[in-house]
Symmetry: C2
Subunit: 428 residues, 2 copies
């Protein structure tokens, strides 16, 4: 089929009629499909059910240090959980602190602490007139919500195929002391699935910020969330790279087991330099009596070690792979060469990012909803929910079944085509 922009008005109108008929038919099915959030499927959750059997009333809930995990004590995580998550995050276990059930919470608390207490002795951010964060776009909506909640001004930085545009990042970070941070999902990024190149990571580590309290918020949410055994992305470890560049304190690294065991019932961690962790522990000892050690023990004993966790992730991949394949092959088959959308084929993570013609994303998402398919809100991948081009749509294939995904793809493709035709007709 020819690219849509080469079609005449008449051809477009004819095509539209045909597609509208198909859409009307789909609507009669009263479907209820959801490709909006990066939720693991029930099949994936079943992979971890044996975790429920790891601890029983006959178990000895004593961790390696000899502490009874059922009682108070141990502020920053039991030894075996530290080792497991340190290996997962590719950092020394002394550079890790275990938190509660979600890394989002750790990120929120980190920003909140910067607001009220500053960073390693700097002025608390809440005492400053203006605080800014760089936001590579498209990005993760919940990151942007945190900075928005704290009244932090967000500045868009375009993503490239190798990570954020580092020319822009370097220029802004080195010149504006109000810029205190940048949100990063460096591996299998949300939503594009891009992994930062070696050069990008190196340039991050070598940043010369105008603000001494500038921090990189490195949310390595998908560090071991590969789709393939053979084709895998590698990411340079940022803590070590920052240390080498003489910037050991410049980064906070976050991760969790949310999409490894059970979302919301996993364990999260922060990795950082000794100085940063000292400050974090100082807050922790006021904020909490320590996080859930029983759950730390449950996770440690279930996975055994990082190799056990990696094997577990292969089972996740086996479930996720065909779902990504359906979306990608359908996009290619139905939209390839039409010039009305572009996308990347990620090797891991939870999302496929779709870019429509400018000004079409909202219409596509609204139209999909009409037919019973919920997509992530258009704009959600940008700060303040504002996609300047109104073109980015995040596709989350994990939760629906394969059958549901096939239907969802059909609807999505129809909506993309119809919105694109309307757009093209506007200019005819």
């Amino acid at each position: 089929m020819a690219a849509y922009n080469e079609l005449s008005k008449e051809e477009l109108l004819e095509l539209k009629e045909e597609l509208e008929a198909q859409f009307a038919e789909v609507k009669t099915k009263n479907l209820n499909l959801d490709m909006s959030r990066g939720k693991p499927s029930a099949e994936q959750l079943n992979l971890s059910m044996e975790m429920m059997d790891v601890l029983t009333s006959g178990s000895r809930l004593i961790c390696e240090e000899g502490v009874d995990c059922r009682n108070y004590g141990v502020l920053d995580g039991i030894k075996e959980a530290k080792q497991l998550l340190a290996d997962m995050m590719e950092v020394p276990k002394d550079n890790i602190v275990i938190f509660g059930n979600s890394s989002l919470n750790v990120m929120f608390d980190t920003i909140s602490r910067c607001m009220t207490h500053g960073v390693l002795g700097s002025t608390p951010w809440c005492k400053l007139d203006k605080i800014k964060f760089l936001c590579p776009v498209p990005g993760y909506d919940r990151h942007f919500s945190i900075t928005e909640y704290f009244g932090i001004e967000m500045i868009n930085v375009p993503m490239t195929s190798t990570g954020p545009d580092m020319d822009i990042v370097e220029s802004l970070v080195s010149s504006d002391p109000a810029i205190k941070g940048i949100w990063c999902v460096p591996k299998y990024s949300n939503p594009q699935g891009i992994t930062y190149s070696d050069e990008t990571v190196h340039r991050f580590a070598a940043l010369k910020p105008a603000a001494e309290d500038f921090r990189i918020f490195w949310d390595n949410a998908y560090g071991i969330h590969h789709l393939y055994d053979d084709k895998q992305d590698y990411l340079i470890e940022i803590l070590m790279e920052c240390k080498k560049e003489g910037n050991p304190n410049m980064v906070y690294k976050f991760s969790s087991t949310s999409k490894i065991s059970f979302p919301g019932s996993g364990i999260a961690a922060i990795a950082a330099s000794d100085d940063n962790l000292k400050e974090i522990r100082r807050q922790m000892q006021i904020q909490t009596i320590g996080h859930d050690k029983v759950n730390q023990l449950r996770h440690s004993r279930f996975f055994g070690d990082i190799s056990g966790m990696v094997n577990h992730m292969k089972r996740h991949a086996a479930i996720m792979r065909p779902k990504f394949d359906i979306i990608l092959s359908t996009l290619e088959k139905e939209l390839g060469g039409l010039g009305i959308g572009s996308w990347l084929a990620p090797r891991g993570g939870y999302f496929i990012s779709f870019d429509s013609m400018d000004g079409c994303a909202k219409k596509i998402v609204a139209k999909a909803k009409e037919a019973g398919l919920v997509m992530t809100d258009a704009g959600a991948t940008f700060p303040y929910g504002k996609d300047p081009k109104d073109s980015n749509i995040r596709i989350a294939p994990s939760y629906p079944t394969l059958e549901e995904l096939k239907l969802a793809c059909t609807i999505f493709i129809l909506c993309v085509k119809l919105a694109s035709i309307d757009k093209l007709l506007e200019d005819k």
Copy 2:
């Protein structure tokens, strides 16, 4: 035996020699005893071990609303956990939000939110020059640590046998708009075991604060932690009382299952008015993807309902009661009538509060440590760790065994007597 202050210098010196000999003998035993923290004993923890069997790989982890507890979703707690903790906290289940593993964390986050975002539209506290909190003393050290961490000035308010001195509370709260809160442990208070009288609760509810964003931080940590079946304290429910007085928003109420199931692996909750909860949920939806629902389900299914929880607490009481009895009977037997110390006999909670002669508490705690007995630091029950009279010592009888407690009592009594004699000799 006569009161110590009626003894002559010679009699005191003679007694001292005798006690020093006993102390020297105890020291040779190289004991390692700890009455410092309110930690449940292993025997108490064993009461909840069957909670480890409640969920297995064969369980259906679907909560009453039909949500899969293993996945994302449900921000403020599953229905059955809300019902259980609402009953525990004696509030409607619509006025409760379930949090993570500790109420301390909820209190910290609450103050942190007041600092960065104010309260129901008020100026964020971090933007104000001075913030003050009232602190009934003696009180809970971790409360005071939170307010100290945020640079909030703490003002001591003396406790009476019916709760904080309400004349002082009313006068300060109604006159000083910089006073934004008061810390309360209203039932079986930490450390005295005092329960606020009906009149005290009523006067709290009827406060007319100068600051519109004044809040009562009502930490009902020991609401169902009775020692006896027959002798139990009752506490008027503060949310309803505030509502009746036209002050529905004036109180945040906190609680958790820390000393019911496993400390650090339980579930916590806040109870508050609709307006307050709306603000709290607004923060929550930014801060977290929701707390650990699997653990909420585990707790709900283990306890069944509030009646199951109350029965469970009777088993705790059966373990705690003899421990309190040993301390109280030994204090009475060894120190009764000597005029060198006073204490209360609580009907619940985790502590016994001992008041030595002025200026003796630090010496007693230091001397006990010499003999291998760790007590809570003298001063810890006051803001900034400063007990103006240096007289209050918190005794935590829960963790040691009965045998250990007997030894610990012997040491403690010796230390009290010796420090008192030294004090009396100073004036001779």
